[in-house]
Assembly symmetry: C2
Homo-oligomer: 130 residues x 2
């Protein structure tokens, strides 16, 4: 398969593009993560979200430790080719490493960030004792 | 009002944070844009989306030319404080400068990006002759 679709993406100075993952069923925005060219190619090929972990500096097959895989339903690119939207099916119903449904659980209320979404599973339950 | 909530945000090396805008009614992800500290403060104060235009290097009150204002319903911060989600009411039903409902109108199909969403209003209709 030609890789010209990967050339169309405007990668930033670090070779990355921001990626929004939205749950197909609920419509909730789950997370914002980053991909490099290799991660986006793998995502399309494997039909599961593969991100670039900026902290660990390596490919991160979402769910590889937790089982919380994101199965791909749709891959979109924005008007100026520098942001990607994934429509996914979130396995296990948990996208966030904190054990919440999603990462956007802090809400601005009267000048304070308030945690408004519950932990579904503790990190220990998800990742086990190391 | 204290500005400690702005200090909580992990601004990147350019002093920016990526911001996802989602339509409250349809649940559609409209756009990914960027904010600096001043833009996020203005967004909260004015209850409309105010972004930082990286190309024009200035604050961009979304809709200032087009009328396509994004009224704020909810402001969220993610688990590691480096991405923001806005739930908005999109005035005029058009978020994208191309005159489409939203910016994510290119869909990956068999290794090609295909435009799958229509132009609702031409750019000329939106911005007029300059």
């Amino acid at each position: 398969m030609s890789e010209s679709w990967l050339d169309a993406v405007k990668w930033n100075a670090e070779g990355l593009v921001p990626v929004v993952a939205q749950e197909a069923g609920s419509g909730k925005v789950l997370t914002l993560a980053w991909m490099n060219r290799e991660a986006l190619a793998a995502t399309a090929r494997e039909q599961r979200a593969v991100y670039w972990s900026r902290s660990r500096r390596k490919l991160w097959r979402k769910g590889e430790e937790s089982g919380h895989v994101q199965a791909i339903k749709d891959i979109r690119l924005d008007c100026d080719n520098d942001a990607v939207l994934l429509i996914v099916e979130q396995k296990g119903g948990i996208a966030c490493h904190t054990g919440r449904e999603r990462c956007f659980y802090q809400q601005l209320q009267d000048g304070r960030w308030v945690t408004v979404e519950p932990v579904i599973k503790s990190e220990q339950e998800i990742y086990g004792r190391k």
